[in-house]
């Protein structure tokens, strides 16, 4: 009993530790003072107004959203066939191939960004949206690969064989059997991919310009010179967007798959 109680307390404390910064940032965004203050001194939406009326913020927000969405889509389109190839076939260099695809998970993004800039400049792929997209695809693809690969088990392969046996061709089998089986992996991988892309600073910073900026880079640049509640307002808006996204996801496809049991 005592242990159960301790675990409960520990869980609540951990949750509080995770939640408090969010509450502080949302609280600070509502302050009437000219500097970050918590608890907020008075309540105002003034800083949100500043953000919404400033096209650089709005533009970066849109850029980040489109970038994260496209990077995630491309990552899914690349990772699913790659996972199928790795799980289903033996080919020379297979181990090296899968390590290579997963390596961005352990490589410092700053190093990767510098390398991509060097490489990109030799083929003219710098400081534009495509350059950003290529970099983001590289770092988010492993997330989808990691969540899809374990689902392509031997049992899953037998299901595909059963489908073929019952008269379905390879194409039909993929859509009717394989895809439903790896759907949860694709969705959870896509969530990680989207978030990773959306919050990335280290990689984006090499290819952003004054007119092409992502929201985290914009914030990063801003806090180097001033710290005022605008920053809190942008952060709070980002948090809000994430919460809305999660709720929409739960209502449409359900988040049950994120827990272990079905």
């Amino acid at each position: 009993m005592a242990i159960r109680f301790l675990i409960r307390v520990l869980a609540i404390m951990t949750l509080a530790y995770l939640m408090l910064p969010l509450i502080v940032i949302i609280g600070a965004s509502l302050t009437t003072s000219e500097f970050l203050a918590f608890p907020p001194q008075g309540l105002t939406l003034r800083w949100y107004e500043v953000v919404v009326l400033d096209p650089t913020y709005v533009d970066s927000f849109v850029t980040s959203a489109i970038l994260a969405m496209l990077a995630t889509l491309v990552a899914v389109a690349l990772a699913v066939p790659a996972a199928l190839a790795i799980a289903r076939h033996d080919f020379p260099g297979k181990a090296a191939f899968s390590s290579l695809l997963l390596s961005p998970l352990v490589l410092p993004h700053l190093v990767l960004g510098a390398a991509l800039l060097q490489f990109g400049s030799s083929i003219g792929l710098v400081r534009n949206f495509s350059a950003l997209l290529v970099g983001h695809v590289v770092i988010v693809t492993p997330f989808v690969l990691r969540t899809v690969l374990p689902l392509l088990s031997r049992e899953q392969q037998t299901l595909e064989e059963a489908s073929r046996d019952l008269g379905a061709d390879a194409f039909t089998t993929f859509f009717l059997v394989t895809l439903p089986q790896i759907r949860s992996g694709i969705i959870s991988g896509a969530i990680f991919a989207f978030i990773t892309s959306f919050i990335n600073v280290e990689l984006s910073i090499f290819n952003t310009t004054a007119s092409l900026n992502t929201i985290p880079v914009q914030l990063f640049n801003y806090v180097q010179y001033s710290v005022d509640p605008t920053i809190a307002a942008v952060s709070a808006a980002t948090i809000l967007a994430a919460v809305v996204a999660i709720i929409v996801l739960d209502l449409t496809v359900g988040l049950d798959f994120l827990s272990e049991n079905e």
Partner: protein, 354 residues
Amino acid sequence: MAGADMTLLAIDDISKNFGKHQALCDISLAIESGEFVSLLGPSGCGKTTLLRLIAGFLRADRGTISIAGEDVTGLPPHRRPLNTVFQNYALFPHLTVADNVAYGPRRTGAGKAEASRRAQEALDLVGLGEFGDRYPRQMSGGQQQRVALARAIVNRPKLLLLDEPLSALDLQLRKRMQIELKQLQEKIGIAFVFVTHDQEEAMAMSDRIAVMNAGRIEQVGTGAEIYRRPATRFVAEFIGEASLLPVQRTGNGALTIVPAVEASGRSVAVLRPEHAQIFAGQADASTSCNLLSMEGHVETVASIGGVTNIYVRALGHLVHARRLGLVESGLREGQKVVLGIDPQNLHLLEGPQP
């Protein structure tokens, strides 16, 4: 060639290697329409590989497979006129039982209504007509087994492949399913190729059994044939129990049993335990004429309820004898006895045996 000789499945000279490992070597086998054939052998003997070759999940390195006269060697699985019951059923977890069974008809061109009507029919056939709305995970192992069966026969294939379909069930259920499966097979008249490592199962259900070992078929025949007249030493030892006794012929052609120390290079006689008679003394043995007799002593008496196994050491051989029921008085360990064997009950494997 089809039709006239009723050959449904013809396997000709199939070989398959996995890297350096030879999984199948020169396999030939013909199966007739409506026949129940078991592929029986220890694990790793190649029986599952052969099944997967027939289904089309693997390609043979050499040889051809034809079904109803059509060469299917190069056809992908979905274009072969057969269906498979997989070892762990392989039911689609994201589909209901009814949709699982309707999957086959849907893929082969039936409309939605037609497919669900046929699915219902197949489910009724296996006694699960009421369970169409459930998901596979909501059913017991035995029920899942029946769903897998319904799904495999719904397209009315001429040939059904079964990969150890009963191995995941407990003993009681397995015995019951053996009978049901055999009855169903006779009722719908589909030829079964049934992979198993359980000889009792193979004996109980099959019209013919192909005994496999190390990538080769050692013998094909009815259960009685392979039990009475095993073609090789492997079959003799794998099917049922047997004592293998080295023998030689005397001048007048009669058989005599050779002592263990002189065994190498001899022909071998297969003696089933029920054919080894035990007598208390030489006098009793000579009362029955024409018996081969050997003196020896009882080494072990083991009663396992319905039968008693008696192991007698004679001429250096350990001979296994069996009596029905609990052993009556008079047989103790260490006791001197005479073994009597009717030569007619000996099956001879000619030529020097390893």
